[in-house]
Symmetry: C2
Subunit: 516 residues, 2 copies
């Protein structure tokens, strides 16, 4: 009987081995996984109690073979074969960069990033963590930012139930010995997220420790050992992303070169090539460096008004994810006091710039159970509106929404000649003259329009169709100069789509006009 596993699921091989000395550092263990034409070297790890494991996320279907290697004879040379079968259910593989600025799952399904943040939710104990999972099950989010290490910050000074290392809290640790129970707990949470279709953007380092536990100031060897252990344990989970840090520049004990080194360690040791990013405080990391797969940016201002977020796209030519844009809430800190309307607006601002946005929530709570740090329940009004946006994105172009006339028309995003979103934000127009940037257009094309209320979550079809003619130099208008009536309210948008019968000519019609 053959062992089988789904593509992008986890094949795990475990075996007993030595327990004497410090197996975490004394014993090397790993395996070579091979299929015709390819070989992947995967590091294993010691899981305590004499058990050694190696985990593999098969990138392709068919027969695979593995053979272990080790500096310990008992662990070396163990071999076997297994069959990788087609994925089922919501298993679409890991998320990859697609079309320069966007994402898709490995199976080609578009992935429209709609993230949230609950930094320390896996360090809160069963009751609260289960509550968080329940909330996530009902929420629109397909990514969550979360810290491997516990967090100590305003509203969040509780000790976690488990620690990553052997030793005594708060700060007597043996950084050479991991605490398997801690890691198994993290894995359980990661796998629960995976099963719900949520990507786990694992934050590997963060400054919200300040020496209390000292996980923010381990020596270089401990940092490297920790990173490799993270990768060996978590790397086979298809929903894992690596975020090197939150607010990396606020970690005063790290030098700029440390971050480059961490990226290099991750690149060298992750055979599955998960997404890699690093999130800023006040100083932005150079996301042009080759190991960064997408720009992870904290800057609420960039999605506060038109024409801002797009500037980062040009600079990085990678997906831009605004992972922190301030939080919906009512705490005194200005990073946690924006309204639900403003949070939804920021998602839309990011969207019409061809970028992606992350959510967070900071409503005061009698026991300081605030979503942004500890998880729990969602109290805000933005999540349903974000769910509505997610639906619109999933109905939109598979290759992602692109600015149509960048640096010129800051309201319009889409796929030239086929699909457009036009967003008005805080403006309150009472009408809109049908007009589109000329890229991808030819006279005679026909479109339909829908009026979207981004706050009230409605889509209302506009009667009739719009046939376009060339007009001014840079745009096409409807031949009757027909206007669309709008309700004179904030938070309105339009969706404009090419009529089906016209679609055949789309690719021929596509043109790019080049001057800034």
């Amino acid at each position: 009987m053959s062992t089988w596993v789904e593509q992008w699921d986890i094949f795990e091989f475990s075996t007993a081995g030595p327990t004497e000395g410090n197996p975490f550092v004394d014993v090397s263990f790993g395996a070579k996984f091979s299929q015709a034409g390819r070989e992947l070297l995967v590091a294993g790890f010691y899981d305590g109690e004499g058990i050694y494991r190696v985990r593999f996320m098969p990138p392709a279907q068919g027969e695979w073979r593995f053979e272990t290697h080790s500096n310990c004879n008992d662990l070396a040379g163990k071999a076997g074969t297994f069959t990788v079968v087609a994925p089922t259910g919501n298993n679409r593989g890991p998320v990859r960069v697609h079309n320069t600025f966007h994402f898709q799952y490995a199976d080609g399904t578009p992935y429209k990033q709609i993230g949230t943040t609950a930094y320390a939710w896996t360090h809160q104990g069963t009751e609260l963590e289960e509550l968080t999972l329940t909330a996530l099950r009902r929420a629109p989010f397909n990514k969550i930012r979360m810290c491997v290490f516990p967090k100590r910050y305003a509203f969040n000074a509780n000790e976690p139930p488990l620690y990553a290392f052997a030793g005594t809290a708060p700060n007597k640790w043996d950084f050479t010995r991991f605490n398997p129970e801690f890691w198994r707990h993290q894995e359980k949470r990661i796998s629960q997220l995976r099963d719900m279709g949520i990507e786990a953007d694992l934050i590997l380092f963060h400054p919200y420790d300040e020496g209390h536990w000292g996980f923010d100031r381990m020596d270089a060897a401990s940092d490297e050992r920790y990173l490799k252990y993270c990768i060996a344990r978590f790397g086979a989970y298809r929903n894992v992303w690596w975020s090197m840090a939150n607010e990396f520049d606020f970690m005063k004990t790290k030098q700029p070169a440390d971050w480059d080194r961490y990226f290099e360690i991750v690149c060298e040791n992750d055979p599955f090539d998960h997404l890699r990013s690093i999130h800023n405080g006040r100083l932005i990391y150079d996301h042009n460096k080759p190991w960064v797969t997408h720009a992870s940016i904290q800057n609420g201002s960039a999605v506060e008004d038109f024409g801002r977020a797009i500037l980062y796209r040009d600079v990085y030519r990678k997906p831009v994810v605004f992972d922190e844009v301030k939080y919906e809430g009512n705490i005194p800190q200005r990073w946690g006091d924006i309204s639900a309307e403003e949070m939804v607006h920021r998602f839309w601002q990011g969207t019409i710039a061809g970028t992606y946005v992350g959510h967070g929530e900071t409503y005061k709570h009698p026991n300081d159970v605030i979503w942004w740090a500890r998880g729990g329940e969602l109290h805000g009004k933005s999540p349903p509106r974000i769910a509505f946006l997610r639906k619109l994105l999933e109905e939109g172009p598979a290759n992602g929404l692109e600015p149509i006339d960048k640096w010129q028309d800051v309201h319009t995003v889409g796929e030239a000649g086929a699909h457009y979103l036009v967003y008005f934000g805080k403006l309150t127009p009472t009408e809109w003259e049908f007009s589109l940037p000329r890229a991808g257009l030819n006279a005679g094309m026909r479109f339909r329009a829908e009026i979207i209320d981004t706050w009230n979550m409605s889509v209302e079809a506009v009667d009739g169709t719009f046939t376009i003619i060339e007009d001014a130099t840079y745009r096409y208008r409807s031949e009757s100069l027909r206007k669309i009536k709008l309700p004179g309210k904030k938070w309105m948008a339009l969706r404009i789509t090419r009529l089906e019968g016209d679609r055949v000519t789309f690719h021929e019609g596509k043109k790019i006009y080049g001057e800034g």
Copy 2:
């Protein structure tokens, strides 16, 4: 009698040598310039008619010695000494990067970049070029962007009087033989600009040729020979900046790696380390690369509204110069149809973001003599207002205007605790409550305020002084909550300066608050 030259002026040594063969490629010639503790290797060049020259911009005062080297015995081993004396007049040395985001002359004098563009002004013949010089003499600009090669584009299809290479126009060139007359003419214009205090931002390549002359598609060896000849001839002019290209990405015959290579050639061959940049069309070069001294950006949109331009600063941590923000004019192209008000507004938008802006003018002209391409006369209304801004900048902090509360207060720039500009742009407030971001402030500090009309070029003092108290978490206000009356017009700004008597405590008071 000793030879002497001013620091940062040009010491030139010339000597006769061989004329047979092709001296431009057959003969190597250069000199080592030395002073106690330092040596600079400087390439010379063949100037035709048997004359070889080497030019040196002395970086330090005192005695210097030189000795030539060559693959030709007649040219090698010639030596001499000269004395470098203190600079006089407006000789402040070359412009360097200062305080990360700003510039200063080598003598420490602040340099507030106020550029203009007249791409092909040195290829228009004496009459028009003299007219351009006259206009520049009256204008506020301290930098001009100009192409070494002639330009062929809309409104500008005239052949130049001189060409860089030996051969026959339009496209039968011997790229191995330079035309010294062409180069002497460029030098004359560069030196005239220098004497007027104007930096020459020399554009080394551009796409406005499209094979007509073929200067945009020379082979790699010719490109390199051309760059080295530029450096040997122009490098000793202290007012030279190297702009690798205009709209580099529109040059379809160049690959991305070509631009890196050009930068490397310039870095290796310019002993005087002039400023280096590259200007984009639609794709922005990676200005984080180490050889780029400042980001030269075309993107009018970035200075159209608040909160945009600053985003580039964070990304590059270098001076950001918006060298093309559309032009004041009335041609049909949308890059050349903005009003004078809008041009001035864009200068202010760049200024309050801690960046710098460049001017250009494109008013229709019966003979197509348009400033932006050919020079001539300035017809627009923005230059006097830009002169007014320049004066305000020169009265401002020597270290440059910095955002005080970046990503939060998009109206305010200055030096925390000392000097502020608050700009309102198209907003038309009738009053302003005295309030400043808290960085650098302590309760009890006293300020005075002036109302600035950026269009009408007036500065009006507000009666009395403002003593500040701590107020909300992130700002200080005047203790009487006093408001400043404003005229309810567009284009207004405020200048707020610390009272002299208070200044002593400034540096102690300076704090940085860190959260985004």
